[in-house]
Amino acid sequence: MTTTFEPTSTTDDAGAVDSFTVTMQVRRYQPEFHEEGYWESWTVEMHGTDRVLDALHKIKWELDGSLTFRRSCAHGICGSDAMRINGVNRLACKVLLKDLDTSKPITVEAIKGLPVEKDMIVDMEPFFQSYREIMPFLIADESQEPTRERLQSAEAREAFDDTTKCILCAACTSSCPVFWTDGQYFGPAAIVNAHRFIFDDRDEGGDMRLEVLNDKEGVWRCRTTFNCTDACPRGIQVTKAIAEVKQAILARNI
């Protein structure tokens, strides 16, 4: 039997937004040609559901090939294009221009707290160093491995579901005022990835990670400003995860 339904009118309008002009004001850093950073603006015509990334591409491909930024998947999964857009950390591929106030210039800068290499490109190495320090891998006694999969209840799986979404884009860590002033702080992303294992009931390395995060540059530096939660493009409740790690340190008498 063939089933039918009435299409709604809203979807027929999907993508039918007119074209508009927008001014992109971008913080440049071109150390091979200019010692200092500077602002540069371009006004471009964009369409309907175009994103900030599309505007940057338009500039790069048509107006100034030297404009430099990382990007890959262009739909919020690879984590390459975290930037400061109108003063807040976002993925350029997830911000639709029509959702911004295009009557004013849209500012785009590199994320803060990591050394800028060129335009929007920062050195990610300190970020990944913190990530590696929390031992971001399952620690379990391999001699006890079953021949089949380990069993895990759906509820136990749910306990760390939120923090498995992390794409390591650094939007959270580079939005954190503590991280801006103290680059030694592990930062939200490393704690989120520690949480992902600490609350996985298959893992046996929780106490070691809690030990690491009980350090003076660990979770206690967090001042719960919620910038990280606001910045996360994956909707992870970052501040909540940090709070759960703090509680675990207290509960387990680390």
């Binding site: 063939t2 339904f5 030297s66 690879c78 490109i121 579901d161």
Partner: protein, 595 residues
């Protein structure tokens, strides 16, 4: 210029590259070179699942999985390879679980499984629950888990080192029957360090290519900007053949106008495709498994609905994916990411509104020919010692003319693992091949000429024209007329490419230059795809010729093999030699492909 020496060098850090690295890194001194940071790789964008006949929720076995893979690939799958993949699938999933991958679970705590297109019970009787999954971010979890285990095993990464050439030498050799031939040997690779613009040579006993696909040949694609066919083109330029390049998968459910992927899991969980009249049109095209028919069939059916005037929207150019009859809680639990894509990018609420979708270029079934030990072949049977390939860049061939959903995440795990093991084992007993003199010269010249060129053509414009013509003429429906149009356009673009200039004249992170080099690869690959498509006068899997709508098993039950050869000509295109290779058959004879 710096020179590095490793036993094994792996090029690419997606699923296949990192799965290989985990094996190789524990057996031999290994380096992984990646154009991105490892966790940026496009494996992370895969959504729906990874099939393995675990039989956790219903009866299943690897033989059924093999059959589905062979039938799904329209019978030009190499059956020995499909058998290896389906058998090793079970351990591949269990290995990932042991590495920590958070699969969704059954009420008993086992790995949960769901339905996926073309995967059936008992040779096509009904859909079967075979796909192991982690919500709709299975690829993300695989990529993260493999990276985590690379960190655990201290795998050495060279991040943002873009491999742009391979160092090969030709040796005179003699076959067992006494005939002389030229044996290719690999000595290493040449890479550009993006941060500095410096050239590095990596000498290695074994080289593994795991560079992924080439979806950016098309305008509408689910692929990342960085998927520009680099590995395929580098091999092709060195005289290594490309196999089955005419077979390109268009995923049925790309977000209309954008191409962003909406997983087949949406239909596995009960989603339905409808045309502008609200009709569930797949009932007409695949009466038994309907919306869960393989991707080539569904994509063609959708394109046909639009062509016959039953498309939806202001331009009648898409169809709908309807999830509105599913419970919002079910959608949130099983399909959270893709419903978020619909909201973010199209402003559509999938709980209550159908989502506009249209086929999007998704996967290249063809690639660098390998055998089941992931060893690259320089012709139909001769191995290149020490050169391996795995994942989308390779053609082993487990996907034939059309890949089944979930089989790519499986491919990268099974053949990535094999590549890592065989590469390390080869390196144990092998000697280094001497580096050719001035091995870096070719790349240095290429880079310098592009950086200093004063031409008038722009990379972005040429690439856009290429992508337009491929979308128009090489997509779901093809004919001699459309393919010739594509070839002529590519020919024109290759000429204009000689006159291309980049604006960024710096050395650090010169991504402008990089895009120029990538365009060169895209043009080579687009040409190979088009010439292969023109040279196959039949319709099979993802390759549909309107002028030859039937499958022709008498003449074309063979793989196509394309070589760069300056003395040859194929279909009027100079510099390409065409050959065929027999399909390996073990237990399945070709049958009519009905669902």
């Amino acid at each position: 210029m710096q020179v590095h020496k490793y036993d094994v060098v792996i090029v690419g850090a997606g699923g296949a590259g990192m799965r290989a690295a985990i094996e190789s890194g524990q057996r031999a001194r290994t380096a992984v070179l990646t154009k991105l940071y490892p966790t940026r790789s496009h494996t992370g964008a895969a959504q729906g699942g990874m099939c393995a006949a675990l039989a956790n929720v219903e009866e299943d076995n690897w033989e059924w999985h093999t059959f589905d893979t062979v039938k799904g690939g329209d019978y030009i799958v190499d059956q020995d390879a499909a058998e290896v993949m389906a058998k090793e699938a079970i351990d591949a999933v269990l290995d990932l679980e042991k590495m920590g991958l958070p699969f969704n679970r059954t009420p008993e705590g086992k790995i949960d499984q769901r339905r996926f297109g073309g995967h059936t019970r008992d040779h096509g009787k009904a859909p079967v629950r075979r796909a192991c999954y982690a919500a709709d971010r299975t690829g993300h979890m695989i990529l993260q888990t493999l990276y985590q285990n690379c960190v655990k095993h201290n795998v050495e990464f060279y991040n943002e080192f873009y491999v742009l050439d391979m160092l090969m030498v030709d040796e005179d050799a003699t076959r067992a029957d006494g005939t002389p031939y030229t044996q290719k040997r690999v000595a290493g690779v040449v890479a550009l360090e993006l941060a500095t613009g410096e050239i590095h040579i990596f000498q290695a006993k074994s080289v593994v290519f795991a560079t992924g696909g080439a979806g950016k040949v098309f305008k509408t694609t689910s692929n990342a900007h960085t998927l520009t066919g680099d590995g395929m083109a580098i091999a092709y330029r060195h005289g290594i053949p490309l196999e089955d390049m005419e077979f390109i998968q268009f995923h049925p459910t790309g977000l209309a106008g954008l191409g962003i992927l909406l997983s087949e899991a949406a239909r596995g969980e009960g989603g339905i495709l409808r045309n502008a009249d609200g009709e569930r049109f797949m009932e007409r095209y695949a009466p038994t498994i309907k919306d869960l028919a393989p991707r080539d069939i569904v994509a063609r059916s959708m394109a046909n609905e639009v062509r016959e005037g039953r498309g939806a929207g202001p331009n009648k150019d898409y169809v709908y994916l309807d999830l509105t009859h599913l419970e919002p809680e079910h959608i949130d639990a099983k399909l959270p990411d893709i419903t978020e894509f619909a909201r973010t990018y199209l402003g559509v609420e999938p709980y209550t509104e159908p989502v506009p979708v249209f086929p999007t270029c998704h996967y290249v079934m063809g690639g660098i020919p390998t055998d089941i030990e992931a060893n690259v072949l320089q012709d139909n049977e001769t191995r290149i010692p020490g050169l391996f390939a795995a994942g989308e860049v390779a053609c082993v061939s487990v996907h034939g003319a059309n890949r089944l959903g979930t089989n790519s995440l499986l491919d990268i795990n099974v053949f990535g693992r094999r590549a890592g093991i065989y590469a390390a084992e080869y390196a144990k007993d092998a000697d280094f091949v001497d580096l050719p003199e001035n091995g870096e010269a070719f790349l240095e010249n290429q880079i310098e000429s592009l950086r200093s060129a004063e031409g008038t053509e722009k990379v972005g414009a040429l690439r856009a024209e290429l992508q337009e013509v491929m979308d128009a003429d090489m997509q779901v429906f093809r004919s001699e007329e459309t393919i010739r149009r594509a070839i002529d356009k590519i020919d024109e673009l290759r000429e204009r490419y000689k006159n291309v200039a980049v604006q960024d004249k710096g050395k650090r992170y010169n991504l402008d230059l990089l895009e120029g080099l990538e365009l060169g690869y895209l043009l080579d690959i687009a040409e190979a795809m088009s010439v292969a498509a023109l040279h196959r006068p039949e319709s099979r899997g993802g390759h549909f010729r309107e002028d030859f709508p039937d499958r022709d098993d008498d003449k074309w039950m063979v793989h196509s093999m394309l070589y760069r050869d300056e003395n040859a000509e194929t279909e009027g295109v100079k510099g390409i030699r065409f050959d065929t290779k027999d399909v390996v058959m073990t237990r399945y004879e070709p049958m009519e492909r009905k669902y």
